[in-house]
């Protein structure tokens, strides 16, 4: 687990280094801040806007939209996957339904949903349309990987359902589940920002990006906002992985101590 985590961290760092190098090369070649700002000016701007209340409230709103969207997507997606594992008919019903949701054009959904809901709910619902099918599919794969014979044995020995979940299901699906949470959380953030741009959610990171591009014509501000959205996505992803790693390590250490 530690090795996998370290490998993942290293590959993320390498990817970031490549991106920064390409950016550096391109900004040196173009040499025009209004077209492609330099890394230094974006970093300076990024830290300059952190203290501004306009940025803080926009960021807070986007994080809130993302968390709402993610929570709905995860609860519904995972619950459907559990039901689909348990009941064949649910799986049969879910298959076309999830495919249909996956095929819905995100932008059209954003515009339609905006008419009926608030600027908070619209981006969250759009995130649901994009993220829920992914959560459902990945959860279904994880749940299907649990050995059927093991479950049969638990049934024969009349083991309590709570123990089946904690001792059989969780150890097998937890890795995949955490990975699903980590990746879909940052995907949610991305989708939410895109829909905020489209529906013009008054106070949000997406709307600030739109204004930076169209009203303020400020490329450095736009890049600084993109910088923060990437940082928040990465921090969220890695916090989840590291917290999970810590918990798992704690459990193993406890087991080892008991022995």
């Amino acid at each position: 687990m530690l090795k996998k985590l370290a490998q993942s961290l290293i590959s993320t760092a390498i990817f970031l280094a490549i991106i920064l190098l390409v950016w550096l090369g391109a900004s040196l070649a173009i040499n025009n801040e209004a077209i492609l700002p330099s890394i230094s000016s974006v970093i300076v701007k990024a830290f300059e806007i952190v203290g501004k209340s306009e940025f803080a409230s926009a960021l807070g709103a986007t994080v809130l939209h993302s968390l709402i969207g993610f929570a709905i997507s995860f609860v519904v997606g995972f619950a459907l996957a559990v039901l689909a594992t348990r009941f064949k008919w649910v799986k049969r019903v879910c298959m076309p339904m999830v495919s249909a949701i996956r095929l819905l054009p995100t932008m059209a959904i954003a515009l339609i949903v905006y008419l009926w809901t608030s600027a908070v709910v619209a981006p969250a619902l759009v995130a649901f349309v994009v993220v829920m099918p992914t959560v459902y599919s990945q959860s279904l794969v994880a749940l299907s990987s649990v050995d059927g014979e093991l479950l049969q044995m638990a049934k024969v020995y009349e083991i309590k359902q709570s123990r089946v979940i904690s001792k059989i299901y969780l150890p097998i699906i937890s890795d995949a589940l955490i990975e699903t949470i980590a990746t879909t959380l940052s995907l949610t953030l991305k989708v939410v920002i895109a829909s905020e741009v489209l529906v013009g959610s008054g106070d949000s990171l997406g709307q600030l990006m739109f204004l930076a591009q169209n009203t303020y014509a400020d490329s450095v501000l736009l890049f600084a906002l993109v910088f923060w959205s990437i940082v928040i996505g990465l921090v969220a992803e890695w916090t989840i992985r590291l917290v999970y790693f810590g918990i798992k390590r704690g459990i193993y250490a406890k087991k080892y101590d008991n022995k």
Binding site: N32, E33, A34, I35, I49, K52, S53, E54, F55, L111, Y114, L115, W116, T117, S118, L198, V199, G200, G202, Q207, L208, L211, A212, Q213, N214, T215, Y216, A217, D218, L221
Partner: protein, 319 residues
């Protein structure tokens, strides 16, 4: 052999020097976003200038980037963006004149009976946080009408403003939407306004320009290196000759269509739409102070994060 090589080198140098000035002649390029400003372009049909109309939502950003790089000789874009992009291009351009003078209209399903009756009502505004929104807010401020952008603060004594997408104006006017999305009036721009009036049964409640002012919207920026050229004079003369009341509507629309990169069809553009777009060319000499004042006015919408426009001096304007 040595002599032959020397002759060859001299010959090559001579040929290069001789033809170095024979590169493909540079054709002046004018770029413009679609919508109201593009309607004036048909006046340039007989001039030797390459015209490109950008119709996507990034049109202004694309044109701005071309200005910053100094790639185009003539660019038409909103004055607020023009000031910023010109500053970013190290002031390579000057403003030759204003092309559109505000094209915002309030539409509804029933007559409003005057702007004062907006109090206590909900108003959907296209681009609330940009130029159209600034104009509406300034109009309300000028009339002493309070406004809010948070539905929770809506009362009988103020006007609730919220952002709408142009294509959804009619949906916001219907009652089948969420309470905070239900508009009594929507502020939209021409040529969309005329389309909604003729095809969807909307009523024009008032002309924002009449209630606020005819403000400088899209402007023509000219590269300093060509500002004194004969072509620039011809372009300005041609643009000045544009008359919305007499222009051949079909020809004008077809011309714009032919200059667009996609096959988006410009259907339903009527003479009303062209007249309502307030398209007429005003030379920088006559509208300089108006532009300076307008820039100062919209700068009240600057935020601690960024500025909506760069302040301008006399150097911004073409003489």
């Amino acid at each position: 052999m040595k002599r032959f090589l020397t002759c060859l080198v001299v010959l090559v140098i001579c040929m290069v020097s001789l033809f170095s000035g024979c590169a493909v002649p540079h054709k002046a390029q004018i770029v413009c976003p679609d919508g109201a400003p593009a309607l004036i372009l048909s006046t340039l049909k007989d001039l030797d200038v390459s015209i490109k109309v950008y119709e996507n939502s990034n049109a202004v950003a694309t044109i701005g980037a071309q200005m910053v790089k100094g790639e185009v000789d003539y660019a038409i874009l909103p004055v607020s963006n023009a000031t910023t992009k010109n500053a970013q291009s190290n002031n390579q351009y000057v403003m030759a004149g204003v092309i559109t003078h505000g094209n915002l209209y309030a539409i509804g399903l029933e007559d409003l009976g005057g702007v004062q009756n907006l109090v206590g009502k909900s108003v959907g505004v296209i681009q609330l946080n940009s130029v159209p929104g600034f104009a509406v807010k300034k109009m309300l401020e000028g009339k002493g009408i309070a406004y809010c952008t948070d539905y929770a603060q809506k009362s009988e004594n103020n006007v609730y403003l919220f952002n709408i997408q142009p294509a959804q104006a009619m949906s916001h006017l219907s009652s089948e939407v969420a309470l905070d999305k239900k508009a009594d009036v929507c502020i939209v721009a021409e040529p969309l306004c005329s389309k909604l009036v003729s095809a969807k049964g909307a009523i024009v409640c008032f002309d924002v320009q009449d209630e606020y002012k005819h403000f400088p919207q899209a402007v023509l920026m000219v590269k300093k290196s060509v500002q004194n050229s004969a072509l620039t004079t011809k372009i300005i003369n041609a643009l000045s000759a544009f008359d919305a009341q007499t222009v051949d509507v079909n020809e004008s629309v077809q011309f714009v269509q032919s200059k667009m990169s996609s096959t988006t069809s410009l259907v339903g553009i009527s003479r009303n739409a062209i007249v309502g777009s307030n398209v007429y060319f005003t030379h920088a000499r006559t509208c300089k102070q108006e532009v300076i004042d307008y820039i100062q006015e919209i700068k009240t919408f600057d935020t601690p994060l960024a500025s909506v426009a760069e302040s301008v001096t006399d150097a911004f304007f073409m003489e």
